[in-house]
Symmetry: C2
Subunit: 415 residues, 2 copies
């Protein structure tokens, strides 16, 4: 497997474009006082019909685009050609939300001359503000005209809200000697605590694979990637991951589990795990990426539950911001995880590029140098290694520190 450029355009036959339509407010550049218009809407399209799969938020409040996309994929038998997505307005909790989301699909369908139910729609941003449809009506022809096989970046920037960096990742891999590609883009920085789904994530591949296996692979990988991510414990109303496979790599279609399916799943894991990591690193206000690796678990659910519990602890997150090796907070979070294990067998190490220290052995503290610990925690990426010494399963969870800036950003999000 090879890491490549191209994001959602890395796979053959996917074109993308992005533009500014007026949902985001123009911003003024502090240096040269120019008015800047950031992309706020994007479109991407496959040259041929794709098998599609998606997972959605488990929040009872569901954004209107979620409802419309779900209905479309049901109607089309999990086939899709195009995706339209906007940022800054979530089109959620609005009386006319479904009508507007449906209209977005219709606009794309008319412009590209494809069936409306083969269009996926997504929105992200503020909840409960009416989505203005006129700017989108004007933008769709512009987006269609702008479609290119290398404009993945235009699309990746158009879905950003409080994100500070664009998130793309793509890989090249072989299925039975045929070169395939799989890539994706993601957005998200706050309201991130995916539950069976996640923030907006879009994946494309040219690998030929049946809809059923595509959905199975997506659901399995979501469980160990996006669902192991938490920025702030809040599960969004608009979370969605969708994947489209257009088959243009011309490998023999994967229709059964086996070696090829595993190869495909590995590629999907690689892309989704790396996008997850980028989301964690760009968490609202974050200065540090936290990666918790729970090993020695008797099963996957235990490993995930323990790793996520640590990543979600506000106290531990604040301690990491302060670069304070307060391992008692790791133990506390392990202790309230809803999983079965023997707390007296638990070991904990803290690790970064600067070194590793053991802080807890058999559930009790061990002496360590605060100086060495402070040096290790001064790094940008901190690893928390937990060994339950109770089995052979490992899982990872990703998060970030809790900072003044998280409070600042969310104390005044709407204005």
């Amino acid at each position: 497997m090879k890491i490549i450029d191209g994001g959602i355009c890395a796979a053959k036959g996917f074109k993308a474009s992005g533009t500014y339509c007026g949902i985001k407010k123009p911003s003024v550049d502090n240096i040269n006082h120019d008015i800047k218009h950031k992309n706020d809407i994007c479109l991407y399209v496959s040259d041929v019909v794709c098998n599609a799969a998606a997972v959605y938020t488990q929040n009872k409040v569901k954004g209107a685009p979620i409802l419309v996309t779900k209905a479309n994929l049901e109607k089309s038998g999990n086939k899709a050609i195009a995706v339209i997505a906007n940022s800054k307005n979530a089109n959620t909790c609005n009386a006319d939300g479904v009508e507007k989301a449906d209209r977005m699909c219709e606009l794309v369908a008319n412009e590209l001359n494809i069936p409306k139910e083969q269009v996926i729609v997504a929105s992200t941003g503020v909840i409960g503000q009416i989505l203005p449809i006129e700017p989108i009506e004007k933008a769709v022809p512009v987006l269609a005209k702008g479609l290119c096989y290398n404009k993945n970046l235009e699309a990746a920037t158009a879905i950003m809200t409080t994100d500070t960096i664009k998130k793309e990742y793509a890989v090249e891999f072989e299925i039975n000697g045929t070169v395939c590609h799989l890539g994706g883009m993601a957005k998200g920085s706050g309201m991130i605590h995916p539950n069976m789904a996640t923030t907006l994530n879009f994946i494309t591949t040219d690998c030929a694979i049946s809809s059923e296996l595509l959905q199975k692979a997506l659901s399995d990988i979501v469980k160990v990637t996006y669902n192991c991510l938490s920025i702030d414990g809040d599960t969004s109303t608009n979370d969605m991951v969708c994947i489209m496979a257009n088959g243009l790599a011309f490998n023999d279609e994967i229709t059964a589990e086996g070696e090829e399916y595993e190869t495909f799943k590995n590629a999907l894991y690689e892309v989704m795990a790396n996008l997850t990591r980028m989301l964690a690193k760009d968490g609202e206000g974050a200065t540090k990426l936290l990666e918790c690796i729970c090993s020695g678990a008797k099963n996957l659910d235990t490993a995930i539950t323990v790793a996520k519990s640590v990543i979600c602890s506000s106290l531990f997150k604040a301690a990491m911001f302060g670069e304070d090796a307060n391992w008692g907070r790791v133990l506390c979070a392990i202790g309230y995880a809803d999983a079965e294990f023997d707390i007296n067998k638990v070991d904990v190490d803290l690790r970064s590029e600067k070194g590793t220290i053991s802080v807890c052995k058999n559930g009790a503290g061990v002496e360590f140098s605060e100086e060495v610990a402070a040096d290790i925690l001064s790094a940008d990426e901190i690893y928390i290694d937990i060994n339950l010494n109770d089995g052979n399963t490992t899982a990872k969870a990703w998060g970030c520190d809790l900072t003044y800036d998280y409070v600042k950003i969310n104390g005044d999000y709407r204005t």
Copy 2:
């Protein structure tokens, strides 16, 4: 029922004392440069043996004092006479923790000439630091000598860690014409998200009531008071609520459910709900108390789950700090609550002493004046009224805003 002074000494026959033994570091007064020694250990004692009941943290990591107290009450058949508690060191995750906690009970037992198993012990503070026993050995005789029927304040200040105010509450009530008293003290400011128990809370009463009913009343009331509190989502390892009833009011002992039991339970609710409110208001870094009232629920669990979900949302907490009427975050948190109801029937109002505004009706936003909303949210105590319009049950949950100071306090807690 009448609110009275006296905290844990409000009930007849309870003496208390507190002192500085050296577990807390001395602090220097910024104004007159005096060295200050804050109380860090306390003792309170009943004149006669009490029926006792307690609930403990559900965290798998349990502080050694929790283990020792539980064992003592089992051995004594839920009888207790004295309570010793220290702050600044939790005596948790230490290899010699149980031995030290047991030694604390022994010191008190020897000094007061009572059975060791009738002593309750509690510790709160940093996890994983060895508890120095010598200062406690020196302190116990001082504490015993200092016991007075009005030194509740000495004890209430001795259990404070990051608390900024002492928390006491007491009431007077009548059981069949006999005047009874019930009062308590609490500590806690961070690592507060009680699960079947809570942070340290001590209640005393002179009401005569059987151990069984005392335990039942405590467990029932904990569910709708302390367990409906969250400061930061972290369930502490040392949470404990204990209540001691010495019978010195000389009412006919309550031994069955009925009118007298309900009167007692109301008094217990009054004290525990008010202590819970004080804990929320003094949450680490908090500037605002948040009280979420969920009504119209089909059962108590639904009402509690929904109210707690809102109170726990980091995004909503930060929005309240920013005085931003971002009601979408209330809807989002309601939506991911693990409970069954129809999101399209949900109404939400925001309220304070300055007024009330409706922000959401039938699950969708309603227009409101941002100016009026900002004025309402500028108050110190904010009420979030949620009506599920699905039944007749109501529950409350308490929390606080998420602020820069929470991050500051927890970025550097140990030093």
